[in-house]
Symmetry: C2
Subunit: 152 residues, 2 copies
């Protein structure tokens, strides 16, 4: 199961994951229902992000993300604007890749954006606690009046 | 959600999945808890299989596999030896890839093996209804006395 590291932003979690090499291929752990960061299963989907491109800002009011990157490298930037949060006003950044293989848990209510960092495919798997619901997601352009400028 | 095609072997299902292209990358559906083939969530993991290599035969007594291939191409071969099954003694084969993007649901009790078919990475995601349990999986070599010979 592994411990699962608590990070700077309240409720955000980076969980180290095992990769087990074999003679015909590897096995890479992702998540179990008994492990850290699990908040239920509603939907799984892949997102790809081209090198240099940034998807975001996004915020889910209800959905908790559990994100892994099995191919390429993806930089995630998180911003906490939650009322009453001890880490309100803070950023956090993590680069996920197969070489530094971890799962990023983003609680609902935290702004995030992510950027492709490798040539070719940058593949993100999200295991979300709820299925897609219209109106549950908020979006902002990278330049906006709420989130301070960030150097992507 | 999509329909989800019933296939030759009893309980096996191939569900077509959407890929939505975007200006910065794509989104590829995998599974929702309300969609066809969902039997609960216990564990997610990736398996890779080298080109030409075959992993199998395997059988899960309890675990239901939901398999997608977001990178490369993987050939799955299934064999039904379930007592009382209308399709007992039959094989079924399906090749999964991003170009023919589908989810393969393999019920517990069905033998399966899978082979890498592309150069480079062949990546399989399994969304399993239960987490790993020792003793729940059976294995046979490709040549055995139970499953008729198959030309991989």
């Amino acid at each position: 199961m592994g411990g699962g590291g608590i990070t700077g932003l309240n409720g955000v979690r980076l969980t180290p994951l095992a990769t087990i090499a074999g003679s015909q291929g590897a096995v890479m752990h992702v998540m179990t229902s008994a492990g850290p960061g699990f908040h239920g299963f509603g939907e799984a989907y892949f997102t790809t992000v081209d090198e240099g491109a940034v998807k975001g800002w996004k915020l889910h009011e209800q959905l908790v993300c559990n994100l892994v990157v099995p191919v390429g490298a993806v930089r995630f930037v998180l911003y906490d604007d939650r009322e009453g949060s001890a880490s309100r006003g803070q950023f956090e950044e993590a680069v996920l890749s197969p070489d530094d293989y971890r799962r990023l848990t983003i609680p609902n209510g935290v702004w995030f954006a992510f950027q492709g960092r490798a040539h070719g495919l940058n593949l993100v798997l999200n295991l979300a606690n709820i299925a897609h619901v219209d109106g549950e997601q908020r979006s902002l352009p990278l330049e906006n009046d709420l989130i301070p400028p960030y150097a992507f």
